[in-house]
């Protein structure tokens, strides 16, 4: 099951949605909590939608645009990002989160199939700018815990939270 995922490094760069800032994506073998079987197509869709959400994150926080969040974020994750964008706009800041690599492990698929949780050891470049002046650029390695829920056409991120490594 899920051989393509278990096989090792997968670069999902072929998709058009990942045409900008292609990040390498590696999906770990997993031992899912929960009684529900995870279909290959579901696993692939979850990973792809999650990785694409980083592009949305990048676009939203770099351009201070709340409107782009809808496609990939919902609930608390969307609310928090909305607040952050409003804070950035108030301070005249914008921040680029450019993901470079993802090391993903699916950890929980809820019994009714309405949520899936993954962890991601992600590397990204964070650049903070005050209008056109770059204030700092840092390379960050962080571990994220992510909860996604299905919507009409794609999985959307409901929780996006860096946890202490």
């Amino acid at each position: 099951m899920l051989r393509w995922v278990l096989a090792g490094t997968i670069v999902l760069g072929a998709g058009s949605a990942l045409a900008v800032g292609q990040a390498s994506v590696h999906v770990q073998p997993y031992h899912l909590e929960g009684p529900r079987q995870l279909a290959d197509q579901t696993a692939k869709a979850v990973v792809q939608d999650y990785v694409e959400s980083w592009q949305t994150l990048h676009e939203a926080l770099d351009q201070n645009r709340v409107d782009v969040l809808d496609r990939d974020f919902v609930g608390a994750a969307k609310d928090k990002l909305t607040d952050t964008i409003q804070q950035q706009a108030k301070f005249g800041l914008h921040t680029s989160y450019q993901d470079r690599s993802h090391d993903i492990q699916l950890v929980f698929y809820s019994p009714e199939g309405l949520s899936i949780e993954l962890t991601d050891n992600v590397e990204y470049d964070q650049q903070v700018a005050d209008r056109d002046k770059v204030l700092t650029t840092q390379h960050v390695s962080a571990r994220y815990t992510v909860v996604l829920t299905p919507s009409e056409t794609r999985w959307r991120v409901r929780v996006l939270q860096a946890v202490r490594q």
């Binding site: 909590e33 929960g34 009684p35 994150l57 926080l61 608390a76 609310d79 928090k80 990002l81 607040d83 952050t84 804070q87 950035q88 301070f91 800041l93 921040t95 989160y97 950890v107 929980f108 809820s110 019994p111 009714e112 309405l114 949520s115 949780e117 962890t119 964070q126 903070v128 204030l135 700092t136 840092q138 390379h139 960050v140 390695s141 962080a142 815990t145 909860v147 929780v159 996006l160 939270q161 860096a162 946890v163 202490r164």
Partner: protein, 286 residues
Amino acid sequence: MRLVRALLVSGLTACAALQVCAQGGLTVPKAIEAGNSFSVQSSGSGPATLYIVGPQQVIKRDVQLGSTIDFGEGTLYGAGHYLVFVTGSGESAALDVLPASKAGDVSFLARPSRLPVGLREGITGAVYVFDTYQNLVTTPVAVSFQLSTPGSMAQSRAVTTRDGAAWIAMDSSPREGAAQFVARVGDISATRVIGQVPGDPCGLQMKATSAGQNVALETAPVRDCSGNAVPDGTIITFTESHNGAQTTVDVPLKRGVAKVEMPAYPGATISVASGVVLGNQIRWGR
């Protein structure tokens, strides 16, 4: 670029064992709990601007270098990884905000909303535990689940969260009725109501009596295997076979029983069923 990255990584590693992290003259706690007060110590002198930037929150504050900058309770509450830096000095540090240790909210999803009684592991519940700031509590937390139906013994189980999530599967009660399904973390709880309805008919029986040219058929009160009355409206099918011809009548249950009259053909075979559940069979006398 690689050199810069290497320096940053080595710097972060060096301060990993410390409670506070001093980088380029900024002394910042390595980690704080969401909503707790904390302080940042800067070196140098003169006015500057301090930033704390992450996807969850952004803080900007005018400061005097060389002073201690205090942040009160509730200032920084979004769990995540933050970059802390001061303009003009090149000073920066990393700060992790951890979810509060106390649960403040439980997201509880229970399925299905309605199911037959006596179904093994037919009810599932999944919870995500959050603190009061809607941060996912990723440290293990004990969650107790309880399923109680009036007139039945309650089922209780305890599960520990992993990465903020926990799940359970429980049997539906032998008794019909609305079950209270409760997930509790400390003094926080969430309740869902699960409708438990009777299962398929069990031991379906009918009797036949003469009614002039017809035979009157009537079932005994129809119940499931746990003794719950099967709801009115459930279809009961009577089938009469005689001389190679077959007559079928569907009758909804009314007040727990189904009644019908069919032609009284001597030697006819009459059977009763509900869905795939077969009842008894009667051969009508000549």
